[in-house]
């Protein structure tokens, strides 16, 4: 029995799924934009409390991981399986680095009494409270996507290793890569909105 594969259909389905993700984050960006419009000064005060260096480091990490995952697809299609696995390992390592950074960033904020529902936040002006609410909701949802993406890439790497995802059957790696690039895309907008312009 020959295995049936639908490469083009799989890719189409992945893009359709990505659209639901784009609209999900799009809705949150819209909420952010509406409140930035209403409370520009409070958002500015909130944004000044975020660490630009940590945010920039995480931007560089995600952009680099987007590059390594794109390169891993090239490696697999050229039949360089070992290089593909190293590039995927690098991508997952960068994803974990991102989460470690996020952990330290959130811990520092918690240490200053800034966490959802904290008394400190309740005493702040309403716009600043909203800013941090959106900060935790949006970077939290994004962080969850980083975790899911890293898991997906680990599973894909295991399948590459076992010869189930190969030079002639690379659809899964490509779709996992698409998901990972989406995670990068969302951060490309989160970083300037929260850390730079607010």
């Amino acid at each position: 029995m020959t295995e049936h594969r639908d490469y083009a259909g799989g890719k189409l389905g992945m893009w359709l799924f990505l659209f639901t993700e784009i609209l999900l984050f799009g809705g949150l960006f819209l909420l952010y934009a509406a409140y930035l419009h209403r409370y520009p000064a409070d958002f500015n005060a909130g944004g000044k409390q975020l660490d630009v260096v940590l945010g920039a480091a995480n931007t560089v990490i995600l952009i680099t991981s987007s590059f390594t995952v794109a390169a891993s697809i090239t490696a697999l299609r050229l039949g360089e399986t070992t290089r593909c696995l190293w590039l995927l390992a690098a991508t997952v390592a960068l994803a974990l680095g991102f989460l470690v950074n996020k952990f330290f960033e959130w811990s520092a904020k918690f240490g200053h009494g800034i966490y959802p529902g904290s008394e400190h936040l309740m005493r702040l002006p309403p716009g600043e409270n909203l800013f941090f609410g959106l900060y935790y909701a949006m970077t939290g949802l994004h962080g969850l996507h980083v975790l899911i993406g890293a898991t997906l890439l680990t599973v894909t790497a295991a399948l590459v290793r076992r010869g189930r995802v190969t030079q002639g059957n690379f659809g899964l790696l490509e779709n996992a890569g698409l998901y990972w690039h989406l995670v990068d895309l969302v951060w490309i907008f989160l970083f300037p909105l929260f850390y730079l312009i607010a």
Partner: protein, 99 residues
Amino acid sequence: MSDAQNDAGSHPLSYRFLAGIWAALLALTALTISVARVDLGFFNVVVALGIASLKSALVIFFFMHLKYENRTIKTMVLVAFVVLAICIGLTFSDVGFRR
């Protein structure tokens, strides 16, 4: 030749080309951080979102391979972003002008 290779059409992108896109993304990140240090008022938002859009275009067209996909996928992506733009536009036609 397998189906996958037929469907994939184009050759895989070279490492050198992908590294070029990566370098461009890093340069744009450096640019957006330095521009944010200059106070341009409202234009800070415009410039930051402009640079972010340029970066996403690089990711979508090259890393996500959209430039080399067929017309169906290209049209679908366009429709998704137009829908998002309509949502944002309609919301701001209300929020932006409410008295």
